[in-house]
């Protein structure tokens, strides 16, 4: 990225020459969104462009603000927050539920059976794969490749079938309860999951061939939207966004919750095989490789899953000790944290969702200055935002 472009302070109103001399070009302000095919929902970006070159990106959020935090303060009890949490990141609901129930259990000091932990991990990892499939598929669409998207969705469908089998829902599950789960695993679940893991490895290869190592795709994504390490940390980016920049960091390993420390798997970071570490391609590849690791975790979990009663530890009445907690888990998009303030009442006093999308998106102006409009699309795609959690 051009250094001078980086430092220039541009106001949207005064047009200036792009070359400094010669032909004078006017800057133009364009609205990208809220209805735009590649803002992944209702994100609105006000972009200042000089021809195709982006000078400034000003995000405007809130088009999908559904007052999640206000709603939480009006719940009858903590369990009722879970279905709302589902709707934050609606393509990774299981991970959201997981994050919230882990936070609530830590706040309430509930010990839960091992079987519940295992099932939750299986669900969370399956959901991670499903979510990454969407991310990779839609990223392909952003780059103009439509076919990988459908291949990805074919396999996501299989995961949704597994979820449907377990809890009857395909998108918003309301499956995890504080202290347990709403249903135990159905009889054929283990077998079908095993089968899925085997079949899925083929799809990974397919996506590699079709998209990830395609010459045009690499040309489009390598060296675009480079997010340096220190900037990523300063902006508190997390998940694939952070790992794509080469920071070896995963909450599942470095700040373990539930039983993640029992499994053997690797944290994938951007290695810079193509382009620079921290660019769009490396961020994208982190997701691709993470799916392999998730399969690894699932395979270990379904072999070792212990017996037990999934509802044993579910409390009849959830009455917390007054206090506050910030608990975080690794969702497909990064660090999903819940800050909960509890009083002695049955309803939460304050719930704040620290959504990874919100935080990751805040870096967008920093990394897309000087890029082209097509690059901005790539950057948004690789940030993998879901407006449900950005706007909450």
């Amino acid at each position: 990225m051009n250094e001078t472009v980086h430092q220039e302070k541009i106001s949207p109103t005064n047009g200036r020459s792009s070359t400094g001399k010669g032909l004078r070009t006017e800057e133009m302000v364009i609205n990208m969104g809220p209805q735009h095919p590649s803002t992944h929902g209702v994100l609105r970006l006000e972009i200042v462009v000089d021809g195709e070159i982006i000078r400034e990106v000003i995000p405007h959020l809130g088009y999908l603000h559904r007052c999640f935090e206000k709603h939480c303060e009006y719940m009858i009890n903590y369990q009722q927050v879970v279905p709302y949490v589902d709707r934050l990141d609606y393509v990774a609901s299981m991970n959201n539920e997981h994050a919230f129930v882990v936070a609530a259990e830590r706040l309430l000091n509930i010990e839960i059976p091992e079987r519940v932990h295992y099932i939750r991990i299986i669900m969370a990892e399956l959901q991670r794969i499903a979510s990454h499939l969407i991310a990779i598929g839609t990223f392909g669409i952003d780059m103009g490749a439509f076919t990988p998207f459908l291949h990805a969705f074919r396999d996501r469908e299989k995961i949704l079938d597994l979820f449907e089998m377990t809890c009857g829902a395909r998108l918003l599950y309301n499956y995890m309860m504080i202290g347990g789960l709403s249903h135990d695993l159905p009889p054929q679940f283990i077998e079908k999951t095993k089968q899925f893991c085997v079949e899925f490895k083929q799809t990974l290869k397919e996506i590699d061939d079709l998209l990830n190592y395609n010459e045009i795709f690499i040309k489009r994504t390598a060296n675009v939207g480079i997010l340096p390490k220190d900037v990523a940390v300063n902006y508190a980016c997390s998940g694939p966004m952070l790992r794509g920049s080469g920071v070896d960091w995963d909450l599942r390993r470095d700040d373990p919750y539930t039983l993640y420390d029992r499994f053997e798997w690797d944290v994938c970071i951007g290695k810079g095989e193509n382009g620079t570490v921290g660019d769009v391609w490396n961020r994208h590849m982190v997701r691709q490789r993470e799916m392999e690791q998730s399969v690894k975790i699932i395979e270990q979990a379904i072999v070792n899953i212990p017996e037990g009663d999934v509802k044993k530890a579910v409390p009849k009445r959830i009455r917390p000790v007054p206090g506050e907690i910030y608990s975080r888990t690794e969702s497909p998009r990064g660090e999903l944290g819940f800050y909960i303030v509890a009083t002695d009442s049955l309803t939460p006093y304050r719930v704040k969702g620290r959504s990874p999308g919100f935080v990751n998106l805040s870096v967008i102006n920093e990394i897309s200055r000087g890029a082209m409009i097509a690059d901005l699309v790539a950057i948004i795609g690789s940030t993998d935002i879901v407006l449900g959690e950005v706007d909450r």
Binding site: M28, I30, H36, P37, S38, E52, G140, I141, D142, M143, G144, A145, F146, T147, L150, H151, R154, L210, L211, N214, I216, F217, K219, R220, M372, I373, A374, D375, V377
Partner: protein, 347 residues
């Protein structure tokens, strides 16, 4: 009877009838290609596409067309109405006029003018004017982006494609498309991709250059018809829908039709320039006016299918890469090939 005969023999009537043939062809072809594209794309993507209307969904294109006909025709209030309405027709005229010189068969060509290929290149550039009009008239910044990109793209890619055409014209010595086709008749070995009717050693030497020129023309033609990987003007994920964002109903259908028709034209030109046009690959076997038409359309559709295949496989390239490919890769290579072939012909 007398009256009918006199009307039929009138030159004006004959010209009108003559001109109607491509129109009917374009309409039928668009339906077939629509169906083909959807089916090919679907099978590449592990799905089956339309299955319900008619056998394997064969009636779906008609339904799609009916839908487009019935849709409300919206003209944005801030649009420049005259230009907005004119634009799709200008685009279609540019495309349709090209059909005049396409040699469908040894017996049928709309107008066998000597400057056939020259006329074709000139007329198809008219499309750019239409696209610019639509982008400007829509009063939408994304549309404007689309039409500017499209103008830049079509004009840039005209150069390598014209250079490829120039090489062929140099070998054949005529610009008439009918002439170029006739030059290649008499079997697959006479096709220009294999050097045409040059002396054997020249022929063998020219084959690699002809193949390179063929690839250059194929790539350039894909760019000229704005299809993926060169569909930047209507890049859905970047520019919403590019120049035709604001169009709906019949006007959109005309853009669509023009795009498909254009696709056939460039495929047909590839066929005429390198693959013998309407001539049969087996010399006199399966030859004759009707067979000629069948060969021509089959070959054309084959290249249409290749275009579709590319579209559903490759991602889109970026604006600067697009310009790079045209000016720094295709144009120098084409120039080099033209020079070498020129030397070969002089020797």
């Amino acid at each position: 009877m007398e009256l009918i005969n006199s009307i039929l023999e009138n030159t004006i009537t004959q010209n009108v009838l003559n001109a109607l043939v491509p129109l009917i062809f374009v309409l039928l072809y668009a339906l077939v290609t629509l169906y083909m594209e959807m089916k090919l794309a679907a099978h590449m993507q592990d799905r089956v596409a339309y299955m319900h209307n008619g056998w394997h969904g064969t009636l779906q294109p008609f339904a799609d067309m009916l839908k487009l006909l019935q849709k409300e025709d919206i003209i944005p209030s801030a649009a420049n109405k005259i230009l907005f309405v004119m634009a799709p027709y200008v685009v279609f005229v540019g495309t349709y006029a090209s059909f005049a010189v396409l040699p469908f068969s040894s017996a049928y060509i709309g107008s066998s003018i000597d400057l056939g290929i020259f006329y074709l290149v000139a007329v198809s550039s008219l499309v750019v004017v239409g696209l610019l009009m639509s982008g400007w008239a829509s009063n939408n910044k994304w549309s404007l982006f689309g039409s500017f990109r499209s103008a830049a793209q079509v004009i840039s890619y005209e150069i390598p494609s014209v250079l490829a055409i120039l090489a062929v014209v140099m070998i054949v010595g005529t610009m008439s498309l009918q002439g170029i086709t006739e030059y290649q008749s008499g079997g697959i070995w006479n096709w220009l991709i294999f050097g045409g009717r040059l002396a054997l050693w020249k022929k063998l030497l020219s084959i690699p250059f002809m193949i390179v020129l063929f690839i250059i023309y194929l790539v350039a033609s894909m760019a000229e018809v704005n299809r993926t990987p060169f569909d930047l003007p209507e890049a859905e994920s970047e520019l919403v829908q590019g120049y035709n964002t604001e169009y709906s109903g019949m006007k959109f259908a005309i853009f669509y039709l023009a795009e498909y028709a254009n696709l056939f034209i460039v495929s047909a030109v590839v066929v005429v320039l390198f693959f013998g046009g309407w001539s049969s690959p087996f010399g006199d076997f399966l030859n004759g006016p009707v067979w000629n038409a069948i060969w021509f359309i089959t070959k054309g559709m084959l290249f249409v299918a290749i275009n579709i295949w590319m579209r559903w496989t490759l991602p889109r390239i970026r604006v600067d890469q697009l310009m790079y490919v045209s000016w720094k890769v295709l144009t120098p290579f084409a120039l080099f090939c033209v020079i070498v072939l020129g030397l070969l012909l002089v020797l």
